[in-house]
Symmetry: C2
Subunit: 283 residues, 2 copies
Amino acid sequence: MKLALIGVGLIGGSFALAVRAVGKFDYVVAFDSAPGALQRAAALGVIDEASPSAAHAAIDASLVMIATPVGSTQAVLRDIAPNLTSSAIVTDVGSAKGSVIEGARSELGAAFSRFVPGHPIAGREHSGVQFADAALFRDKIFVSVPSVQTDAGALLTMETLWRDIGCRIERMTSEEHDSIFAAVSHLPHLLAFALVDHVAAQPDAARKFAMSGAGFRDFTRIAASNPRMWSDICVANRIALGGELRAQRKLLEELQYAVDSGDADELHRVFTRAAAARSQVLG
Amino acid sequence: MKLALIGVGLIGGSFALAVRAVGKFDYVVAFDSAPGALQRAAALGVIDEASPSAAHAAIDASLVMIATPVGSTQAVLRDIAPNLTSSAIVTDVGSAKGSVIEGARSELGAAFSRFVPGHPIAGREHSGVQFADAALFRDKIFVSVPSVQTDAGALLTMETLWRDIGCRIERMTSEEHDSIFAAVSHLPHLLAFALVDHVAAQPDAARKFAMSGAGFRDFTRIAASNPRMWSDICVANRIALGGELRAQRKLLEELQYAVDSGDADELHRVFTRAAAARSQVLG
């Protein structure tokens, strides 16, 4: 069984290692537009063959996994569409789903029913194939986001595969997915990037970073994430993220008023609700 | 040597354990306004004696450590002032320094020169004496924030004590302190509380929290911090924090525009600067 892997980063590389480890694929052909990525992946034994294009990699593949930044997904689908076999499954791991699914509908024609959209919740702030790990998906959630047209056999194949490499499957609509991850992933990443950029722009930034404690390190860890991956996600999910950001800015405006006026009671009310939720729900 | 400890939480309790472990104090008398805190501290062996008031605890103490939320510091100073011996040193661990120092100047009279303001960078999201740890301050930064009136002998005594229990000393003015920690501590806490409150207020909050990954957990860890402690800090440092929050909101307004208009390049520019700063400075 041949896997075509488009995008050989942390997630794509880990997927290739994991599916090979459970014996589901014995040959991995890959394409990546980043210079050197394919050579590194081959040297690490993550892939068997470097392909000159996504279109070329897709030939004869039983599964095409798209693990690029989401902004490239539609172009990849356009490239591979003419070369897909009639039984090939196409899948992705993008953190935004609605726009990816619309792109697939536009590009794949009849093959759209064999496009199985998904999102494993297994990111790290490190990116690149050098961090690829066959165990990355173990005990993680895989969000399965079928459309009403998704072929039931293809869906079963993919959900079984993700389960085999360690995931628990959560199925939801793309609207639900995009709303949830705008709130618990995309907005936090945007806020973390914004905070670090804000501090880094100050004249005494080095001293400020040097004085920061464990809380700052934890809070800003996700700001070390891949910038292209995250700018793509923010744009791909801009409707839901824009709404979340607008609501968050409204709350910050209220907190600004409380800070400026020294209203400890109002701050205490908000902080108490937040601390209770954080402790109760996430331990 | 007798230590009077006002406020027996994570920091106060850890300080008592640490200074006793290095043999600097052999008797700890404590006051805390929270019901049960003194009993718990006595049961854990953190204190020798529970006192009925801060004023009473201060009698004959060679050092009075104030480790309450900063909003209570001035009232504690007022209570203890009449009972201080002529050689007693008074110190604190508040995360905001300018307003605390002004409060001490108002309340302590001639004893103000023996008020040694400080801030160990050793917080955790857990609070309470049950988490007290004699090793909490090991390899941490202690920010020493003397005023121009601070007695050199008292300052030397306190900096030596913090060094003895494991800290590296960083000395700075209260203005510098409050500016730095507004940026790298107070604003991140406020943003984390605000994000969790925002998500928790949504109708499907439980499902959203359940779907969150490691990034969200790291980002929101500080939102489990003590709400009273943090509302007090935000008010005590409201000038510097208000400025930081205003600047951060301006950046978020720009990012809102970029998200809404699908400007991936602008988002990429900001995220790239942030990721580079985060990786270079904090590893």
